[in-house]
Amino acid sequence: MEIFLQFFLSGVTVGAIYALIALGFNIVYNTTSILNLAQGEFVVLGGLFMWLFFQKMELPYYISFFLTLLTAGIFAFLMERLTIKPLLKTGDPLLLILITIAFSILLKGLLMFIFGKDPYGYPPLLEGMPILLGGAVIQKQVLVILAFILLTMIFLYFFFNKTILGKAMKACAFDQVAAQLMGINISRMVMLSFVLSGIFAALAGILITPITFMEYDRGAILTIKAFTASILGGLGSIWGAIAGGFILGIAENLVAGYIHSGLKDAISLVLLLIMLLLKPAGLFQKEEEVRLKKL
């Protein structure tokens, strides 16, 4: 029982991280119908820049935190303006997805150039002894991560349901022509979605690095995990992304713990295949709802 709880809690921790990355995935997917496969690199960027500001330059935590998110926002902004915007008119999702892969390689190279190949880490926001819960050990950083997930959910709920900008983004996701007729600048919404997703990914990086360390080439696997989480919850669904992230994180850790740790990454691909074959709309979305969204 204790060991189960331990695996479960580790699962919740990484799950929260996957959820954050998957959120960004879905925000971009919703406004543009493209997958931003550079998402994982933004997680790495978040961890490494946080190290730079917080550890190397010894800035206070909060300042480093905001500078890191700002950096991610700027990179995402540049990515959208320089690579997506000029090609958005082609309306070819495949081309745009390939562009995001190209950008991810570029970003990875840049991060390696700046930071080298070493793994980096820094102390967590809450230091001190881990908490014991029913025999399982919880690092305090896990609580920080969960708090941030909660904050993010509240922010997103508020943004998409209470602000005109959020509603405009939803409108844009559903019908770009009609959104234009409302006077909505589509290109600006796309830019905003990239910036938001870059920031969420960087936040994930900031939070996870004290636990797992971060190095320049971790992006691709994180992108795959986030993609699986999105598919599990249903591509395009904000709440599905969060649920999918937790499910994947927990499944991974249970499999790694009880069967073999070498299977940790494989489980993600297995789940992905099963979902795509059996229930491509995701665990929680009905096929009809998806159709209503896209009609």
Binding site: I164, K167, A168, K170, A178, A179, L181, M182, I184, L292
Partner: protein, 246 residues
């Protein structure tokens, strides 16, 4: 208010609009009649900027808007209710209406938006009743009403309507047009209207153009058009030659 001069539009190599010239005066309701495929929707789309034109010019309130993107034209006071309605089905009725006001929505105008929203609910009680429901579950006719109401939320100076009577009960169509007439007086709004229902559109419009395979073949005031035998034959379903005098 709106002046089109020598508008040419192509889809690929298909010449759809051929040197279309027309104008809409301040506060006027102008109807465009034409058979299926004449290019009526294309005309409205090129005015709002959804379709690129090959040559010609569009003047709106004395300003050339040829090269402006759609959202800028909307901000200047053009608003289109498109053929397919363009309702945001996963959003609530109220959110649809609020997005109608997107072009002038900001913190300073929040009160104004609320006031206009209530005014619109007053005009269309069915929308008030369903304000918190998803727009996707409205009936086709209700969606059409929502589309028109949403366009009015933009406080347009020129409202472009593409077959507004589509799918709406005839008595309701009349009611909607009466609202539009009332709004025109309230806001000094002009209307450019495409309709299949020629009788109705001649009744409520001041002037009419007839579009045939991309060319304007008739222009005149609606009253005289109603008496014009050609138009009666082609669009009002009356064949005078065959009508037997009693």
């Amino acid at each position: 208010m709106l002046i089109l001069r020598g508008l040419d539009v192509y889809y690929g190599s298909l010449h759809i609009l051929k040197k279309v010239t027309l104008h809409v005066n301040e506060g006027e309701i102008v109807a465009i009649l034409g058979a299926n495929g004449a290019g009526k929707s294309t005309l409205l789309k090129s005015i709002i900027g959804l379709v690129k034109m090959a040559s010609g010019s569009i003047l709106f309130q004395g300003r050339e808007i040829n090269s402006l993107p759609v959202e800028k034209r909307v901000r200047l006071g053009l608003s289109l209710v498109p053929e397919g309605k363009g309702i945001f089905k996963p959003l609530t009725v109220e959110d649809n209406l609020l997005l109608g006001a997107y072009s002038w929505y900001n913190f300073n105008h929040k009160g104004e938006v609320k006031a206009l929203l209530e005014e619109i609910y007053g005009l269309f009680p069915v929308l008030a009743e369903k304000r918190h429901q998803l727009a996707g579950i409205l009936s086709g006719g209700q969606q059409q009403i929502l589309a028109i109401a949403r366009a009015l939320m933009a406080k347009p100076k020129l409202l472009l309507l593409d077959e507004p009577s589509m799918g709406i009960a005839p008595n309701l169509v009349l009611e909607i047009f009466q609202h539009i007439k009332k709004l025109r007086e309230l806001y000094n709004m002009s209307v450019l209207l495409v309709e299949q229902n020629a009788k109705l559109s001649l009744k409520i419009s001041d002037r009419v153009y007839v579009l045939e395979t991309g060319k304007i073949i008739f222009e005149g005031d609606s009253k005289s058009a109603m008496e014009n035998p050609e138009i009666q034959r082609a669009y009002l379903g009356r064949d005078l030659d065959r009508e037997v005098p009693l």
